[in-house]
């Protein structure tokens, strides 16, 4: 039992106190780009989670064999291999999702959540702990995407879960294909599904997450892009050095 408690904490920290999107401010590009509808957001979240869990397991298993000097390229190769596998699976089984995600599917490779977790967690912890950490972070990422996509789809298009049928088609013939929201469907706030709406909804969601964090006595989420950036060690950008120093203090 002694071992179980920390594991359980590794799982919950991913979607609460250390939510990758809303607390650590990582992986902002896919969050903004794929949250136009709930179905694509879930597809993105699940694909990224699979890559995250697999790469965490592989990197943690190999942590004693990878020389620390070439670790970043080694991690990138591992992550890219899993992304390629997921990409092929999605193309074969859920072609509609492949079309919806487009270039963002191969771009999971440069999603900083995955490289960040490899560097910050998987390279230092056991295989089981890394797998659980990956699962927690994956759920956290998916949840944040889901929240954003819900707001953007309901108010921006007047639908909810539209296109989920294509995702569920993996499990056989499903008739369910989302809801249409009566009034909003005829008067959608189109700007919310366009690029500016993405930034706006993310900003407001971040403000709400900050409010919740403050009420729990935790600090607000700041853009520590560089402090958690896996390249921070090799990067001599003065601004970076400052943020790293601040984070250390």
């Amino acid at each position: 039992m002694a071992e179980k408690k920390p594991l359980h904490k590794e799982l919950t920290k991913g979607f609460l106190s250390e939510n990758p999107v809303l607390r650590l401010v990582l992986g902002t590009c896919p969050t903004l780009a794929t949250s136009t509808s709930v179905a694509t957001a879930l597809g993105m979240g699940i694909s990224a989670s699979i890559v995250l869990i697999c790469s965490n397991i592989a990197i943690s298993a190999l942590r004693k064999f990878i020389p620390s000097k070439v670790r970043i390229p080694a991690y990138i190769v591992v992550i890219a291999s899993f992304v390629t596998i997921v990409q092929m699976l999605v193309k074969a089984f859920v072609p509609a999702l492949n079309d919806a995600l487009g270039v963002y599917l191969p771009l999971i490779v440069v999603n900083c959540i995955i490289l960040g977790r490899a560097e910050a967690f998987a390279s230092k912890n056991s295989v089981v702990a890394s797998a659980v950490d990956g699962l927690g972070m994956g759920i956290g990422f998916t949840t944040a995407l889901f929240c954003m996509a819900t707001v953007r789809e309901i108010f921006g298009a007047g639908t909810f879960l539209k296109g989920i049928g294509d995702l569920l088609a993996v499990f056989g013939d499903v008739k369910f294909d989302g809801f249409t929201i009566p009034w909003l469907n005829e008067h959608p706030l189109l700007i919310l599904v366009l690029a500016p709406g993405g930034f706006f909804v993310f900003g407001i969601l971040m403000a709400c997450a900050n409010k919740v964090a403050e009420s729990k006595g935790k600090p607000r989420a700041e853009l520590r892009g560089c402090a958690v950036c896996p390249m921070a060690a090799t990067c001599s950008l003065s601004e970076c050095a400052n943020t790293v120093k601040e984070a250390a203090e």
């Binding site: 890219a80 390629t84 487009g102 191969p106 500016p196 900003g203 900050n210 607000r220 892009g225 950008l237």
Partner: protein, 195 residues
Amino acid sequence: MKWFFSIIMTAILTNNYVLCKFLGICPFLGVSKKTNTAVGMSAAVIFVMVLATITTYPINLLLVKCDLEYLQTIVFILVIAALVQFVEIILKKYIPALYNSLGIYLPLITTNCAVLGVVLLNIQNGSGFAESVINSFGAGLGFMLAMVMFSGVRERLEGNDIPKFLQGLPITLVAASLTSVSFLGFTGVVEGIFG
């Protein structure tokens, strides 16, 4: 000439990589506090984007010829990572002046999704060599425009009285949203000018 400007203007204004396609958001939010750093970072991005496109184009032809297209992601990210390292070493040794102004940004660019994104999008669109290079250059210029504009906006934000609820990152994102609205206004402009 018309063709050239049409591609460049589309990449800068209507298809801006940062504000319309959401690629390269991390540096956009992280390195845009000061205009100087924003310019340096984007110059490095333009440089690497063009170089990466030039290098990956023949490699892609080879992959297609051998029926290995599924290896694109893994090959391109490795080529870009190696290229960035290589450029850094060469600049350090032979052109120290350029290294001092651009070199410090280079390690950051390996994991920048805008660079891999532009390479993959060029291939997805089936662009030829010249078109790909011009498009990458335009995408880099668009990145620079967005970064410089946004760094100006952020400098103005610093001294303002912002509600506590929105302080910090939320107001930055809302400001980015407004900057993005201004780019929405360019929809159709390129088609209007170049037919």
